[in-house]
Symmetry: none
Subunit: 193 residues, 4 copies
DNA sequence: CATGAATGAGCCTTCATTCAT
DNA sequence: CATGAATGAAGGCTCATTCAT
């Protein structure tokens, strides 16, 4: 069935791009992993680069939409950030491959394709900036360098995709909970514990 | 002069590996950037992969030695971490390319070469672990997941190489100072300010 | 309707083979131009090469039959040649694509298929040779190299397919008339004008 | 030696492009004929298309320069044309492959490369046009359609590359001489014989 | 009648590397 | 010290063709 093959290609690409990098992944590697001939691959994708861009846009787009929905109507900045961190960390823990591709391979995209990806990423990070800014204004968060703090916080959370393993002792909930605590500390929010 | 050429090759490799990735960098790119023919390149390096490993080992080795020297004799865990963070952040801000190569391209090394790099990295991270553990034991730091906290802290600090620009308003000292504060917060140390 | 599709394929092939060459025309180009899927194409043709041969044989066969009919019963060599030139030039002006395919792509046919095409072409050229020879025998034409003259004349007339455009000022009748004059000159016939 | 290899590539390309067409000639065919690996080919050429353009420009450029030199200072239009026809025919007889490439493969060039080739061809044909026009003005030539006559004449002469064989009975001088006679007839010049 | 799915073979080109000079 | 010349292997991608549906 066509849909299944298309999905196999996508999955194979995500895994391989994440582990071997875009340039380290050959079209033949992709074909083998998708159980297709390298020629058949091209029924389900444009160029290799377009496949990469598609993966990135989908992944980021989904994350952005979910994030918007998650914080919709939530006014408390701390709660907003709690939800953003939880979603972010869980997504990175559950889909480390997608995430690593998005984080590491933006640079290989040609300008045209890169633009749409960067735009999505910026929109997503704006959600964090907004929440942080409001928390600062409300006197809940404290930092002298909001910009640096925001990016440091994001980098900290991104790291999850690089090391978390579901085979370890830590559950997803524990993980997310702990990161929420770390985030609050980074933001200088009064410890709840 | 031989030394100069060798250095040019090294510099070119660092810059290119950092910006285009190992697999995205061709031997011809390297040659062009080093102002040598691609054949001459091989007077100054082994294989492309060996060049990569060399860069990584040098960079990590230097960082490890400097770190050891920096904390030598320092007993206060908070001071130890302060110095580690400062060194780490400054190194990442000053040499973002070397750092990104070390962070991103470990996976392309063959097992033999990878081992020595990983060993260095582990030794380096052990310095952080030790300081954190002692701080916890001394009641200075507070975290329920020391392992997670340590890695989250490191990832946060690594991020500097991905975004800091010396052309911005932030000085290196400001940057390091701010990250020390963030680190202390992450570790649950009482705010000094 | 089957016939219509078959005809669309044929027309598409003629146009594409003429403009891009046989090897420059892909089966997908053909399919797109014929508004069919590339798989459906094969309901209306054998292999790409057989399609080419078919086009050539049809085109040359029609030309040969028409030529035979045109000069049937005509005894005057000058008149015979006049009619051959007129038919030839008009055919080349009206169907430049078919003609160019026949002229340019004979070499790509495998020996088996090529034979039948070459045979038709030879039969056709024989009509010209016969007329010229008789004209010479009758003292109407004058040339020391009948073989060279015949081929030079044919090449001159073939050229029409390469440049004539119906959008220009020249009508088909003007064109043919002028070429008849040129042909008579080439053959050393006394100018009628 | 480098020059020899480069020359072998050129010669191989000319022969193969002429006999099998540009699209019908694979890079591997080229390599085999040039006695090089297909990778080594690229030391001596840019892309396949650039090689084609180079061949065309060189061939046409040489023809144009020689033609200019040949008619330089010659005022008599008939003499000018005699020399043009002689040069043209001899060149086409001696270098049929180059000529066929120029005549048949212009269409495969991308617009940028095509421009320079077409420009050369136009310059060359202008020499013919000028001579013909002057002959007409001088009352030496007679034709009601100078444009058609010129192109018919050129096509007739081009044909030589398609059929002349040095192994036949006809010498180059005979050939050229005969074509001069044919040309004069086409142009309506009074027969000299 | 029509086509999506599939592929082995092949396309042009670049890869990292070696070596004679 | 330096490099042109050379190449086997591999790169991403397209080819003409078949076949089950």
């Amino acid at each position: 069935m066509a849909v299944a093959s298309r999905e196999r290609v996508r999955r194979a690409a995500v895994k391989l791009f994440a582990t071997k990098g875009f340039h380290g992944t050959g079209i033949r590697d992709l074909a083998q992993a998708a159980k297709l001939s390298s020629a058949s691959l091209y029924h389900y994708m444009g160029t290799k680069e377009e496949l990469l861009a598609e993966i990135m846009v989908d992944c980021l787009g989904r994350l952005l939409e979910t994030a918007k929905a998650t914080i919709d109507g939530v006014t408390d900045p701390a709660e907003r950030l709690t939800r953003l961190v939880t979603l972010h960390v869980m997504t990175h823990a559950r889909q480390p491959n997608e995430t690593r591709v998005v984080d590491n391979e933006i640079g290989v995209l040609s300008p045209r394709l890169r633009r749409s990806v960067v735009q999505l990423r910026d929109s997503y990070e704006q959600l964090w900036s907004d929440a942080i800014d409001e928390g600062l204004r409300a006197g809940l968060f404290h930092t002298e360098q909001p910009g640096v703090t925001r990016i440091a916080l994001l980098e900290m959370c991104n790291g999850v995709a690089r090391w978390y393993s579901p085979r370890g002792a830590l559950t997803l909930d524990d993980l997310a909970g702990h990161y929420v605590q770390l985030a609050m500390r980074v933001l200088g929010a009064p410890d709840r514990g």
